[in-house]
Symmetry: C2
Amino acid sequence: MRGLLEKLSKVVSAGGLISGDALSERLFPGSNLPIALVRPKSTEEVAQILAICHEMDQPVVPHGGLTGLVDATQSNHQELALSLERMNAIEDIDVQSRTMTVQAGVPLQTVQEKADEAGMLFPLDLGARGTATIGGNASTNAGGNRVIRYGMMRDQILGMEVVLADGTIISSMNKILKNNTGYDLKQLFVGSEGTLGVVTRLVLRMRPLPVSQEMALLAIDDFTKVTEFLNHIDSALGGTLSAYEVLWQDYYQLVTQPPAEGRAPLPDNYQYYVLLEALGGSITADQERFVTALTEALEQELIADAVIAQNQGERDALWAIRDDVGQVAQNAPIFAFDISVSLNHMESYVEELKASLTERWPDHSCMIFGHLGDGNLHIIVGNGDSSIEAKKAIDETVYAGLPARGGSVSAEHGIGLQKKEYLSWSRNSDEINLMKVLKQSLDPKDILNPGKIFA
Amino acid sequence: MRGLLEKLSKVVSAGGLISGDALSERLFPGSNLPIALVRPKSTEEVAQILAICHEMDQPVVPHGGLTGLVDATQSNHQELALSLERMNAIEDIDVQSRTMTVQAGVPLQTVQEKADEAGMLFPLDLGARGTATIGGNASTNAGGNRVIRYGMMRDQILGMEVVLADGTIISSMNKILKNNTGYDLKQLFVGSEGTLGVVTRLVLRMRPLPVSQEMALLAIDDFTKVTEFLNHIDSALGGTLSAYEVLWQDYYQLVTQPPAEGRAPLPDNYQYYVLLEALGGSITADQERFVTALTEALEQELIADAVIAQNQGERDALWAIRDDVGQVAQNAPIFAFDISVSLNHMESYVEELKASLTERWPDHSCMIFGHLGDGNLHIIVGNGDSSIEAKKAIDETVYAGLPARGGSVSAEHGIGLQKKEYLSWSRNSDEINLMKVLKQSLDPKDILNPGKIFA
């Protein structure tokens, strides 16, 4: 270990190696401190660090902003933590090519702000934007609120630089949208949670900055109409639909009644509430089209009730209702889930889940909301018990309906340590074996984030 | 060889194995006939065929619709051709989940038509639509006309089933948009040109069917304005921009003067012509917005002249001008290229290319047009010489400006055999080595489309 730190201290610049007491102040206190935290300032330093670790069979846990939800950055006393936080430069903003070239440690919010200053949009958005880093977003294929319009993080990446386990730098920093020259290597690293390589730099795709934002809250009483209305409105809005969030009744009531600060814009006796957002290019024309499309939906009885936000304050208030996730703590202890299921199976999945929960724990709470347009639901369940056994029982109840429906135990959060025993509920053994073949061929010594993803 | 055919004949259903005289009738005549053409009817048959070939070290060349442009399906006398043409069922159309489940041998046009019948859009589109198969589109990551709006084939795939070199079936046939459960394996096979696995089935993403189509032809005199206008119009159209095709003056003149049938909708003395298309959801509102955005661009002098198509006939006529690529044969012998370069480097790239061509071959022809919104140009060069030496000299002249600009020698056509000696002009040695690591780990005996992509 001493040998390791000595070697590392020779390759990283001043302040690049934190260990001992400074380490417990720097990272969350507790029993899981790594050997040290190494903070390279350049890709070359990352490469040298990994070459040293590779030679010494030293496991490495890459750190982004540490905002992940599945313990993918947890380490033990034998592991070295590698933070990209000092690689936080925006290297290039190219409005003509509509790209931004960044180092991995730049916070997501900084990327958003710099794009905005340049008159462009970087569309990835999620609650942890101030702390989450763009490299972490890439390593976890982050999702968020506007996936239905702009895709996940995978779709925002044109170029990538990554350092492999042995220190080899793979630089594919192209600014181009189309490049069918052999295998598209960057795809392999997106969402691999630091197990195949350490992302060091990215070329990001920027989009035109929207000039109009339309929002509405709709009430619907029948799940079939939730999906019919999605098709109707997505077609009628002609490419501007940017969020199709659904709140199940229980969750809607929770976030629109005290102690929550939000007040119900629509009566709370409907089964489903849709938060709709469109981002467009023409304030007058977009508003007209938005109102027309909703009027048609009311006339066709696809929706039962509607309120259209009239100004920025009302738009913000609608998002605030959706985002007041903290209210679920009223039912603490609770466990939170992030599942995907195709829309043709979603209603039966939820019905089955609620029946199972009721049968097993009549007094449970179950709050459901999420990015329904993407097939992604967040489900918050509490049964009054915070034990590991209770978690396991609830986990299994929530995931039980997914395998037969081709659903996913992790839509956007990843696997990390927390979900690895459920990986096989969404992936078959041949898929998992092939993943292990890839892991073995890229990291034969298993030094990159070992023990994550795979049981 | 006899042993191989005997074994294959036992696993494929009637009519599934073509060899001998029947083969030369069936495939293009010539010296490059494979041993036989095997035509499985199911994934299980594909798996058994590959298991046999794997055991016997038998090279296999997968066939889709054979419309590729880089000889990626060319075979020799020692190879077995495997066609997916009998796996041509549409298995499921799920409007609620907005997915279509298909076998690999379905022609692209059939997928488009079936989506249309269901009131949805399958957006991938290219000239060979009637013959190209959806499995071939996946294996080559096909592009085409509407990538700027909907992405390439990669972006249309939710689920994939693929058979590995040893016959293992990897089935990831999920219908979901978001699935962060381990590595996204399908990404590895998209665009791998049959060298990593044989795609057998796909779950495709369908989009809302547009109800409005707006088109215009614009004239611009300055390349900077070509990119400024792209940003202006993409923003102003708020998500509906579906094509931004640019025709350089020479090409515009070629396709609007006899013997071409098209007539010039705008004077032919401008440097650049932009063919603009928007697909939207509201006929009146979209038209109004389209006209407003173009009027603004004229006022701001981003564009010098414009003609807006007033009806379907005029819209079709504009596309017909763009698509009359056959006119380049007037300059035969010619060589065609498919390059990408980021927009900030495109003008200097083209200037340098034209200067090099003029210096070397004063009487050359050079026609340029393409999907400029994607950074993708098609370049057609002729110097009166059809020899292999002439091709090589022109190849090198066209590609010379790409490496320093991070450009691509193949935006959408792939590498196959034709471009493999230029792979290293767009990919560095570390990238190519990593591709070979992947190839080696998935196909250690090198039986899947050997000799393609890599020199």
